[in-house]
Amino acid sequence: VAAVIDPALQGFIESGVSIFVATRDNANVPALTRGAGCSVSPEGWVTVYIAREQAGRCLDDSRATGAISVLLVMPHTYESYQLKGADARAIELDAQDRTRVTAYRDAFFANLAVIGLRADVAAGLLPVEPEAFVGLTFVPTEISGSGRSNDAEDAA
């Protein structure tokens, strides 16, 4: 059953927060990479963008198992949410997705500037070319986070 993403959470998910993506293989060995933006479809599916160069194992894992967890953290407040799903699959980006990746870079780097990370350092965290990214789309079945007290232990 898809977890409900309300408009406030959707706004958070689609903003310039830090994003991390975890997957696992058939032997339950986890892999981790950095996300480069997230979008929520009208149907409630979530697509997280990742750089091909950085995310080879996560892409392999998505083909093998589909299990995924996405952690979103606002760098200067530590407000965070974690979305989990079991059916992640890789997609190529369309023009709208690529625009989102570009906008995400700008918003993310602005948030990192707030915590004092130099722009030239921040810029190296993600590739520049929108063509360098792919997406992992999944239906979130579990959402936890610092804003949801029942799941306090997942806040980090």
Partner: protein, 448 residues
């Protein structure tokens, strides 16, 4: 490309926390922030968390984990594949992490709500950069061994405490490029430290007090362990989050009072190392830098070694100062005090001394100054031996470890800072000379 694990230490101390992915037995991945990463050896790392998270439960059932590190000097990201070997709930490494967390909390004046459950030792199965990195890697810092050797020799050559403190701090700047540093000594019989020497600041800050347990310096003293803070801003943000969570859980830790100490207002890198001698806490050596991530564990190791040398040297200076002092030394031709009288007030309640309207010092050092000024005023004496000060019960020096030499150094420096007309100088081993440039009006104010 394989790189030695120790080269990753810069990844542990930057603006961005490491992240860890684990996997539950049912195959659900989970991501958490890692608060502490220590390099155990070439094959193992130690991880710890300040928060509750699913990671410990996951790795207890499925020991594999993946950690993402960022070197914020180069922007290179590293992925470590790990396997849990064991969890430790006591022992030196657990204590090191616990004290580190106390130090982190102390950056924001929080106490007592971060109690890590365990430090987890992982075998590193593989590690590799995720990408090419963006900025060139800065050159490796030169090995500090030669500089430590030079400074150790200089420390060993010092014969009195005042010179020892100055040589140490100047040497840290000259040989090891620690431009801002201070030494605080413990006040025997109390749970306080007082600043006695500094280097690199606009003012000396002598006499500032720090209670054990307060701030990074106070925690290092209370725990007798070094505290390394590599990104104070990151920790303060994190502490705000911890405090908010604690408030949500009905456990507000409150805020300690501000520490009245000189220092760089924006210092991101901070290192406080206890100075120990024969098992006693003698003081704390504190260093700071504005830039984040400027201190790594190697700095801590170097400074612990130097603080050990300093502790031994402080004890030797104290031993030397406790020997009978030589005969009075002929002083310079004294110039009669001139000008309007200088009002010096002493408050009996706390032995605080004011010169004019300016607060100078209190406690034992205040009592010592009051005795010297009265002897000067009534008997015309200007030279005094440590021995006679020790024998004066009215001064309130403790019987053991009286720290008299340190109190005299503090008094000398406060006089330099706060008065143009009264000086105290060392003229021989265990002997000081008082110089007064204006006529004195001494006024004692009794307990109310």
């Amino acid at each position: 490309v394989k790189i030695p694990l120790r080269r990753l230490q810069h990844c542990l101390e930057g603006h961005l926390y490491p992240m860890i992915a684990s996997c539950a037995p049912d195959g659900t991945p989970n991501i958490s922030v890692v608060s502490y990463v220590g390099l155990v050896d070439d094959e193992h790392v130690a991880l710890g968390m300040r928060f509750l998270s699913r990671t410990p439960r996951n790795v207890a059932a499925n020991p594999r984990a993946s950690v993402l590190l960022v070197d914020t000097r180069t922007c290179r990201q590293h992925l470590l594949d790990l396997e849990l070997v064991r969890s430790e709930t006591s022992g030196p490494r657990y204590e090191q992490m616990r004290v580190r967390f106390d130090g982190i909390a102390a950056v924001s004046g929080i106490k007592g709500i971060v109690k890590p459950a365990s430090v987890d030792i992982y075998r590193v199965l593989d590690y590799r950069p995720l990408d090419r990195g963006y900025l060139p890697e800065p050159p490796e810092r030169p090995i500090a061994a030669a500089a430590v050797r030079e400074l150790t020799v200089e420390i060993g050559a010092c014969e009195d405490l005042s010179a020892l403190l100055d040589v140490t701090l100047r040497g840290l700047a000259r040989h090891l490029h620690y431009g801002h540093s201070m030494i605080l000594l413990s006040d025997p019989g109390t749970t306080k430290l007082y600043a006695v020497a500094s280097h690199g600041y606009a003012t000396s800050g002598a006499g500032a007090e720090v209670e054990f347990g307060n701030g990074v310096i106070g925690v290092a003293a209370a725990e007798r362990r070094p505290i390394l803070i590599t990104h104070a801003g990151r920790e303060e943000r994190n502490n705000r989050w911890v405090r908010r969570r604690a408030q949500e859980l009905g456990d507000d830790p409150g805020v300690e009072r501000e520490i009245p100490l000189i220092g760089l207002p924006e210092a991101q890198s901070r290192l406080a190392v206890p100075i120990l001698g024969r098992g006693r806490l003698l003081g704390v050596l504190y260093l700071e830098r504005t830039a984040a991530g400027d201190f790594v564990e190697e700095d801590e190791t170097t400074l612990v070694a130097l603080a050990g040398q300093l502790g031994t040297a402080i004890l030797l200076c104290a031993q030397s100062a406790a020997q009978p002092s030589p005969a009075p030394v002929p002083g310079p031709i004294s110039i009669a005090p001139s000008g309007p009288p200088l009002l010096v007030r002493r408050y009996e309640l706390d032995q605080s001394v004011f010169i004019g309207d300016d607060y100078l010092i209190k406690g034992v050092a205040g009592a010592i100054l009051w005795k010297l000024l009265n002897s000067y005023r009534q008997e015309g004496r200007t030279e005094f031996s440590n021995r006679e000060l020790r024998l004066d019960r009215a001064l309130g020096l403790p019987d053991v470890g009286d720290n008299l030499e340190a109190r005299l150094v503090l008094l000398q420096r406060r006089l330099v800072d706060r008065s143009a007309h009264i000086r105290l100088e060392k003229v021989a081993r265990a002997r000081v000379r008082l110089t007064v440039a204006r006529p004195l009006e001494l006024r004692s104010i009794g307990r109310v």
